[in-house]
Subunit: 142 residues, 2 copies
């Protein structure tokens, strides 16, 4: 049986919205002051990039754990390039994985990224139908 997610997004004021799931977990959205908003929260398109980074990030954490790689710090930098015309979608997205730890294996990192890209990452599985996604990584010895 396919699983179902449900979110309700409530308008607060101006361009500010609150999203809520069935467990009453929430997140906020806004737009920048430059775009007529109040700049109190990330925009939907910024949040979209964060979804991608967090989704693939969770895959990497899981695979690295299975491969007994000891991550001390881990970040994903996600940069999206939007086209000029409406809808202003991302045409290109760059992701840089930065993995900090002691003796982290290059092969383990490459395999983890490959598994996320090709198999597990659901957000990436959707966004790559609309944008070119390129990935790089850096291992920091600590």
């Amino acid at each position: 049986m396919p699983s179902v997610n449900k979110i309700v997004v409530d308008w607060q004021r101006n361009f500010r919205f609150i999203g809520k799931d069935e467990n009453n977990l929430t997140l906020s959205f806004d737009t920048s002051i430059k775009s007529g908003g109040d700049g109190t929260a990330l925009s939907p398109m910024e949040t979209l990039l964060a979804c991608l980074g967090a989704c693939t990030g969770m895959d990497i954490v899981l695979v690295m754990k299975k491969k007994r790689q000891n991550l001390i710090k881990f970040s994903v930098e996600v940069t999206g390039h939007r086209r000029d015309e409406d809808p202003m979608i991302y045409t290109d997205i760059e992701m840089k994985y930065i993995l900090t730890g002691k003796g982290i294996s290059k092969e383990a990192v490459e395999r983890a990224i490959e598994l996320s890209e090709e198999k597990y990452c659901s957000v990436g599985g959707m966004l790559k139908k609309a944008a070119n996604i390129r990935t790089t990584y850096e291992i920091v010895e600590e």
Copy 2:
């Protein structure tokens, strides 16, 4: 010149991540306890639905304001149906707009939804390449 958005997603612990934009606005991600997380925040795939609801919601608010329609309350319910196999993308997404106000015009609502769907909504412009998105609406007189 195409515009660029940049987000850094930092791993905190287990499956918990924090996303941050260049203005230091943040949002959190986690997964459910059932999926091995701590259930402290929305998951990336839940947040993706919220992005869609907030993005189109902002379009609707703007168009309704231009059309001098007085919204008192406004929500978007977003339901995503995921497939079983990896990556567990949404194949179908339903959006229901619920607009509350005095004498809100059906035509204005339909036009606002049409403009968002076909022209302005960037998140929708990306996700509709991967999933079928269906919309309905309800006007509540108040």
